[in-house]
């Protein structure tokens, strides 16, 4: 039995005036998280990755599908069970600077845990417990206790929140973009802390849009696009031997230190310097030149999302022979069209998630239309 099992979890949000429009944020997402395993959930903004985190944290109910934690369906746990659930499942979120109340000292987050979960523990015992938790996130208690949030760095604040989760009997940590607000020099420390927690048997769902962070930390990778799992499996296989077009385009867009985007050659071609360097010093360019230039397949952003908003079916091939990311972003329900379907289940059945197929051991890919 896995620690957490997601079985065909779907979520449809109501948007627009009076909830008139229905948007499927997640469609039939299924995967498991085991003890001592880091799964990174990678996707662009709007892909539904944070929605999935909220569903697991019981903050948002799924439209359909079940979430089972240690074998129990979490939709049926009720209010009393929820307190017990949060003892074992905790979340840490993106922005450490707004996770704290600036008027209170930062260690107040620990007191709140005490009043809810450990009302009977004596002050000195509690102090020792807090200090042990701080030690395990490599914080020096003297540096962070009794301080206001603005006196702490982002990395310290984020580690303090992880320490708070560790005070409980936590088994699963949902880490939603916890690295992205941190500075380069401190983000590796937080990443290494997660690796350390994993070794101690914690299951971690690491939600990110940054493939290099996912690659660094995770055992399993799930790539989410428009609420659908397009590729999942062991991290070296998914990121080392990507099968889906979308994964390949994502990988090509990752800025690397020693390889230019152009050398990776997906989607865009780069015009050699000098060829387009035209025009007088005031920067105006002759129009025929521009005509030639703007027809060149330089920019993904020039082709997709334009006035016409090309749907998936009419994806135009760019120089590399692959559709660009911007075009892939366009989903059918995002076009203004005939009146949207009225019931969430009808929307879900109108846009079913493509089935996943195992292309090699431990590596699943969605079929492309």
């Amino acid at each position: 039995m896995s620690l957490l099992e997601l079985d065909k979890v779907s979520k449809v949000y109501k948007t627009g005036t009076f909830g008139g429009e229905l948007k499927p944020a997640l469609r039939e997402v299924s995967f498991n998280i085991d003890k001592g395993e880091v799964i990174s959930l990678i996707g662009q903004s709007g892909s539904g990755k944070s929605t999935l985190g909220k569903i697991i944290l019981h903050l948002v109910p799924p439209t359909s599908g079940t979430v089972r934690f240690e074998g129990t369906d979490i939709s049926a746990i009720g209010k009393a069970g929820l307190r017990d659930y949060y003892r074992r499942v905790q979340g840490v979120f993106q922005d450490p600077f707004s996770s704290y109340n600036p008027l209170y000292k930062a260690d107040r987050v620990f007191d709140m845990v005490k009043s809810v979960y450990f009302p009977g523990v004596r002050g000195t015992d509690w102090q020792a417990k807090v200090e042990a938790a701080l030690e395990s996130v490599t914080l020096n208690p003297g540096d962070v206790l009794n301080k206001f949030p603005h006196q702490l760095s982002g990395g310290q604040q984020q580690r303090l929140l992880i320490a708070r989760a560790l005070l409980l009997d936590v088994r699963l940590l949902v880490a939603d973009e916890i690295i992205s607000m941190l500075d380069a020099s401190t983000r590796v420390d937080v990443l290494n802390l997660l690796v350390d927690l994993k070794r101690r048997g914690l299951g971690i769902l690491f939600i990110t849009h940054d493939l290099s962070l996912g690659n660094y930390i995770s055992d399993q990778t799930v790539i989410l696009r428009q609420g659908v799992v397009v590729e999942m499996g062991e991290t070296p296989k998914v990121l080392g031997n990507p099968q889906h077009t979308y994964t390949k385009s994502l990988l090509a867009a990752v800025p690397q230190l020693h390889k230019k985007w152009g050398e990776l050659g997906a989607g865009a071609t780069v015009i050699p310097a000098g060829e387009v360097r035209a025009g007088s010093s005031n920067g105006k360019i002759a129009h025929d030149e521009v005509g030639r230039y703007s027809k060149s397949p330089l920019h993904p952003l020039r082709q997709g999302r334009g006035g016409s908003g090309g749907p998936l079916s009419s994806v135009t091939k760019t120089a590399g022979g692959r559709p660009s990311l911007m075009e892939l972003e366009d989903a059918p329900w995002q076009r203004r069209g005939p009146k949207a379907k009225k019931s969430p289940s009808a929307v879900l059945s109108a846009y079913p998630a493509p089935p996943l197929q195992e292309c090699e051991a431990g590596h699943f890919v969605a079929t492309e239309s």
Binding site: A184, R277, K284
Partner: protein
């Protein structure tokens, strides 16, 4: 040289005294060059970029000059700078997505902006429409309110508007930070294209992400605690950095396609020093694993290899040898004689001051990990 900045000092006025956010920074940017400016939050990189365009009320120009196309920019004089803004210098602000006036349609806002610069809207309308087309926005955006546009569209609209009058200098402050990888790539390529199309002569790209700069920038400048620590062509900074801070930053970047199970990356212990009372000597000294006695003196920012400027005594010692260090101690002598040196006379600070052990050279900040970064070389 399109932009020449000489010993620029910008400080913030606070009740406890002046915070030197930019402390004697000198650099030059060529025509057609994209300069990347990297550093941690609070190192002064945004302050430096903003001061070239708009000096906020709490910022004070404490010294130094800025020349644009050979002309001195009156950066401390708000009225005089008004003539340069948008026409000669322009900025894409840090929160470009919320930089547009929410109560005006994009077209009308642009027209009002142009009017305030004394430019007629009709005279640039055609060019505006062409550029809107170029960045892949529908023509209809001019008749829309900002809330009708997505974040990426607003970002592109801001980029078009702020470069409409072909400024010589564009400051792009953290334009890629809040974006997805694919949009990051699109925006990065758009910056390069704006340069190639000569919409702008030079661009300063400010970001904390060195891998974006490796893609976009021609030269990379690394800043730490208000001072420049390294400047070189992008490939050199990424490939053979000389300053320990740059090396540590690069070493802490995870990359796709590498497995890290056996060799985890290491962060940089400690925190940057407070700029209210910056420590004497090298400001990275307290966190630097290579710090030695010499580091209690202020390292000069000088060219150690052709086109590669560094402010680090260890780099001086490695390239020039220990004798060079000793020479630098004698006031009045030539200073370090590395290849290409001599173009700048290093400022030799108070010889003999605080020549104690490396740990006492810099008072450690109140941060975590105190004292752990001051190992022996």
């Amino acid at each position: 040289m399109t932009l020449e900045v000489d010993k620029l000092q910008i400080s913030y006025r606070t009740l406890r005294g002046d915070v030197r956010a930019v402390d004697g920074v000198s650099f030059a940017v060529d025509d057609g060059e994209i300069m990347g400016l990297a550093g941690e939050s609070g190192c002064g990189k945004s302050t430096l970029g903003n001061s070239l365009v708009y000096l906020e009320g709490r910022m004070k120009h404490a010294g130094g000059t800025v020349r644009l196309d050979g002309e001195v920019l009156p950066i401390s004089d708000q009225r005089a700078m008004g003539r340069y803004r948008l026409k000669r210098v322009s900025i894409i602000p840090q929160y470009a997505m919320s930089a547009l006036n929410p109560t005006r349609k994009v077209g009308r806002m642009t027209a009002e902006l142009l009017k305030s610069r004394g430019v007629r809207y009709d005279s640039v309308e055609e060019e505006l429409k062409r550029r809107i087309d170029l960045v892949g926005l529908p023509q209809g955006v001019l008749g829309m309110y900002p809330f009708e546009l997505s974040g990426g569209m607003r970002q592109r609209a801001t980029m078009v508007i702020s470069t409409l009058l072909d400024p010589s200098l564009l400051v792009a402050d953290e334009v890629t930070s809040a974006l997805d990888v694919s949009t990051q790539r699109a925006v990065g390529e758009m910056l390069m294209e704006f340069r190639d199309e000569r919409f702008v002569k030079t661009i300063i790209v400010i970001t904390h992400d060195l891998s974006i700069l490796a893609q976009v920038a021609d030269t990379i400048t690394v800043m730490y605690a208000g001072k420049l620590v390294e400047k070189a062509p992008a490939a050199t900074v990424v490939g053979e950095p000389l300053h320990p801070y740059t090396q540590a930053l690069l070493a802490s970047l995870p990359e796709v396609g590498v497995r890290y199970e056996d060799a985890p990356l290491a962060g940089i212990p400690g925190r940057p020093p407070s700029l209210l009372h910056p420590p004497a000597g090298c400001r990275f000294g307290a966190r630097c694993p290579f710090a030695f006695e010499k580091c209690s003196q202020d390292p000069p920012f000088m060219e150690l290899r052709p086109g590669h400027e560094v402010a680090c005594w260890k780099a001086v010692r490695d390239i020039g040898g220990t004798s060079v260090l000793a020479e630098a101690d004698q006031p009045g002598t030539e200073g370090p004689a590395g290849p290409g040196a001599g173009s700048e006379v290093p400022a030799v600070p108070r010889p003999g001051a605080q020549l104690a052990s490396p740990t006492s050279a810099v008072s450690p900040g109140p941060g975590e990990w105190t004292g752990q970064g001051t190992g022996q070389p």
